[in-house]
């Protein structure tokens, strides 16, 4: 009765929880450094004061209501979304550039998934102890100790997740005020929804899902893999040195002496498994480069510690390129800059960064938009004169009230008539529409097919803007 019945195949492997051992070393220190800096910036920035006129004194504030982003002395408006787009392009190229040179460095050291998972593991270790203690706790039946320790861990996780979500929201308002309103139930509905969803997602991603996010959810981790070249530096196990001809062996008896091992054909790897135990992705780097490897360098630290203790040279697991490792005698690992791809990325990067810096540095303090009124395009007045009208929208992007003078050039004197007079006051962050009339006699009309509006901020005359417009009449139509 087994006709048409196929062998069952599991589509999904049940997750084996990864309990990592802590390790000390160069890469771990670097990771701590990045972490302290990143957390200090993320959690601290909303509380950094900054003097501003008429607006909350906060260094970084994303004011969605008024549609203004304050970043130190830079004020961004929706029109500047171009900068954000350019910044994202630059970030993408930086990612490509770094990946080509040193592999998934972003994943291992800077990604917030890694940073938050790291701190969650640190909390876990703080409460429950080192790896063996945690494994023991996992296996033992539910009792007071287990409930207490697991409860404390998860409580701390939730608190940190909550503060993570809360901090995110604080960027969108004046932090002290928003925090007070949040806890008294007076904050906007969106604030509660955001804090709740970020708390849940942080807790789930850094506490429960961890490496599964990198392996199954994150697209970047996957597509960075295709950017690796043979010359790309990556965390690698030197199999020639570690396995030699006879494979790995524990340093027992005479095998403790390196010369004896080498004569017998055994490699330098003593098969202690430390590199596997410290891996947050749960892989064995000795199997070669794998998609799950986030390139955090902890196995390098682990192996170096062991190599030091047995007295063998460091660097059995190290940053090295596939090309170098394939050589009969690998040279000293070095970053290979001279590749067309790398040079291409760096040119792109400098051009785009230059463009962004130029664009921000040359930003104006005001935005102007001159539009001809097209219904009707021109008006014949009772004495036969022709009048064109223009709407001039002025947006004051500076942090103080400004006055602007509107004049024309290339027109006979007296042709311009402004409803508001020669100068207009616009409050900080506001927009004003001004109507301008230009009147020409039938004899003048043909001579001035176009002219310029000159908009001059009275306090900064050198920032004046010139906008060319057309003058229409019956003559243009025919």
């Amino acid at each position: 009765m087994n006709v048409g019945i196929e062998e069952p195949r599991a589509l999904y492997q049940k997750r084996i929880p990864i309990v990592t051992r802590s390790v000390k070393g160069r890469f771990r220190n670097f990771k701590w450094g990045v972490m302290v800096l990143a957390y200090a910036v993320y959690f601290g920035l909303p509380w950094l004061p900054w003097t501003r006129e008429g607006v909350a004194s906060q260094a970084i504030m994303f004011d969605l209501g008024q549609r203004r982003f304050f970043i130190f002395d830079l004020v961004m408006y929706p029109q500047n979304v171009f900068w954000l787009a350019l910044l994202l392009f630059i970030a993408a190229i930086v990612l490509f550039f770094a990946t080509t040179l040193i592999g998934r460095a972003f994943c291992g050291y800077f990604c917030f998934q890694t940073l938050w998972t790291d701190i969650f593991v640190w909390i876990e270790k703080l409460v429950q102890g080192e790896r063996p203690a945690r494994i023991r706790l996992q296996r033992q039946p539910w009792n007071k100790e287990k409930i207490l320790k697991l409860g404390a861990t998860h409580t701390l996780w939730v608190l940190l997740s909550f503060w993570t979500g809360m901090t995110f929201v604080l960027y969108y308002g004046y932090a002290p005020d928003l925090l007070a309103r949040f806890f008294t139930g007076h904050a906007a509905y969106a604030a509660y929804v955001t804090v709740f969803s970020l708390t849940v997602s942080t807790y789930a991603a850094a506490g429960l899902m961890r490496e599964q996010i990198c392996a199954y959810v994150c697209p970047y981790g996957r597509f960075q893999s295709v950017m690796y070249d043979p010359e790309t530096m990556a965390v690698a196990y030197d199999a020639k040195r570690g396995d030699a001809t006879q494979g790995r062996a524990a340093p027992k008896g005479e095998l403790k002496i390196r010369e004896v091992r080498q004569n017998k054909g055994y490699g330098d790897c003593i098969d202690c498994g430390f590199c596997v135990q410290v891996c947050p992705a749960g892989i064995d780097i000795r199997d070669g480069l794998q998609y799950a490897c986030i390139s955090c360098g902890l196995c390098i630290d682990a192996c170096n510690t062991i190599m030091d203790s047995v007295g063998y040279p460091r660097g059995l697991i190290r940053y090295d390129s596939e090309a170098n490792l394939a050589k009969p005698v690998p040279a000293k690992p070095r970053i290979d800059w001279m590749r067309p791809k790398v040079l291409g990325y760096s040119i792109l990067l400098s051009v785009m960064t230059g463009a962004l810096i130029y664009s921000i540095a040359s930003r104006t303090t005001f935005e102007h938009d001159v539009q001809q009124i097209r219904q009707p395009l021109y008006v014949v007045l009772s004495n036969g004169d022709i009048r064109n009208r223009y709407q001039i929208r002025l947006t004051n992007k500076s942090n103080k009230d400004m006055r602007y003078r509107i004049t024309t050039q290339g027109l006979p004197h007296g042709a311009l008539d402004l409803d508001e007079g020669q100068a207009v006051t616009v409050h900080s962050g506001n927009s004003v529409v001004v109507q301008a009339s230009i009147k020409l006699t039938p004899q003048q009309v043909g001579k001035y097919p176009r002219f310029d509006f000159v908009i001059t901020p009275l306090s900064q005359p050198k920032d004046k803007a010139i906008e060319q417009v057309n003058f229409y009449s019956r003559k243009n139509e025919q």
């Binding site: 009765m1 087994n2 019945i5 069952p8 009707p376 009772s382 508001e420 009339s437």
Partner: protein, 306 residues
């Protein structure tokens, strides 16, 4: 026994067999999908209790949720939740948000509204909306009017006056322009002479003899044009009679007529048939005083105000 063992290692079947060995696989939908389905069923049941849901006889179950709004008579009403009430409520909120601006428009004199850039910006945007809804059908979207139909509001010529007070009066109470037909009174030659005279006032190269005869006729008791159009032919704004000396035409399409005879024909046609179609409806019953005031400023701003 072997059968059981085999089953546990292979894909499950529904347990039915046809024709001896024809079986059906049992591939249940994913568990998460199933639970999501149950949860949505549950949500639907909760929905029935909160919102209007089931038809019952001629009515329906209203649900427990309520909504409170103020109706057009100013009475506060609480009813079961429905989108109509929600619309009224949100509409009231939008009107309340606009009110401070309308109040400011209502409290300030006309010229100060135009001189205040921020208030003027409001007039331009809100006025445009009001104008589009109520005025643009005749005066066109930008207020340029239509030859032979509705006057151009963007030029500097006003039949009934272009001061704020005149415009407000025109919108509030409407206007009705009238010119009697002269077909029974004047001969064709006389009408040509009158047309030539009128055209000569705005510097058209017409026959000077004919125009001179028209001049006499204009100021005579036969035609008596000067009664309404004035001795200087500049019109009288109290009556809404047109200024015949400027380059602006509403009923006789002189600007688009290429030759003098065509221009004459256009003017003669108006003299012959008269006018009884310059009607502007009254707006005081459809628009509030604040809206009319705002529209007055807007129309004045269109370019023609005095």
């Amino acid at each position: 026994m072997s059968q059981e063992k085999l089953q546990s290692h292979t894909v499950q079947t529904t347990g039915h067999a046809w024709d001896g060995d024809l079986q059906e696989y049992n591939n249940p939908i994913p568990t998460w999908w199933q639970y999501a389905f149950y949860i949505s069923v549950l949500a639907a049941v909760v929905y029935w209790f909160i919102y209007p849901a089931w038809p019952v006889g001629t009515g329906f179950t209203t649900g427990f949720d309520t909504i409170t709004y103020v109706n057009d008579k100013g009475v506060k009403k609480t009813t079961h939740w429905n989108t109509r009430a929600l619309f009224i409520k949100e509409n009231n909120e939008a009107i309340a948000a606009q009110k401070p601006y309308f109040d400011k428009v209502a409290s300030l004199p006309f010229d100060q509204i135009a001189k205040n850039p921020e208030l003027n910006s409001f007039v331009l945007s809100a006025g445009k909306q009001l104008f589009s809804d109520n005025c643009a059908a005749c005066h066109q979207q930008g207020g340029a009017g239509k030859m032979g139909f509705a006057p151009n509001l963007t030029d500097d010529d006003w039949l009934y006056g272009g001061h704020y007070a005149n415009i407000q009066q025109t919108i509030t109470n409407g206007r009705h322009g009238y010119m009697p037909p002269f077909a029974q009174v004047l001969t064709d030659t006389q009408m040509t002479q009158l047309a030539d005279y009128v055209l000569s006032l705005s510097h058209n190269a017409v026959n000077p003899e004919s125009a001179k005869a028209g001049d006499v006729l204009f100021h005579s008791e036969t035609a008596a044009c000067y009664y309404c159009h004035g001795v200087d032919a500049k019109g009288r704004q109290v009556l809404g009679s047109a200024n015949l000396t400027d380059s602006i035409w509403l009923w006789a399409d002189v600007p688009d007529a290429k030759t003098i005879p065509l221009k004459e024909a256009a003017v003669k046609n108006v003299i012959r048939t008269g006018l009884n179609k310059g009607v502007m409806p009254t707006w005081k019953d459809r628009l509030s005083p604040e809206q009319i005031k705002l529209l007055t400023v807007y129309v004045h701003e269109l370019g023609g105000g005095k």
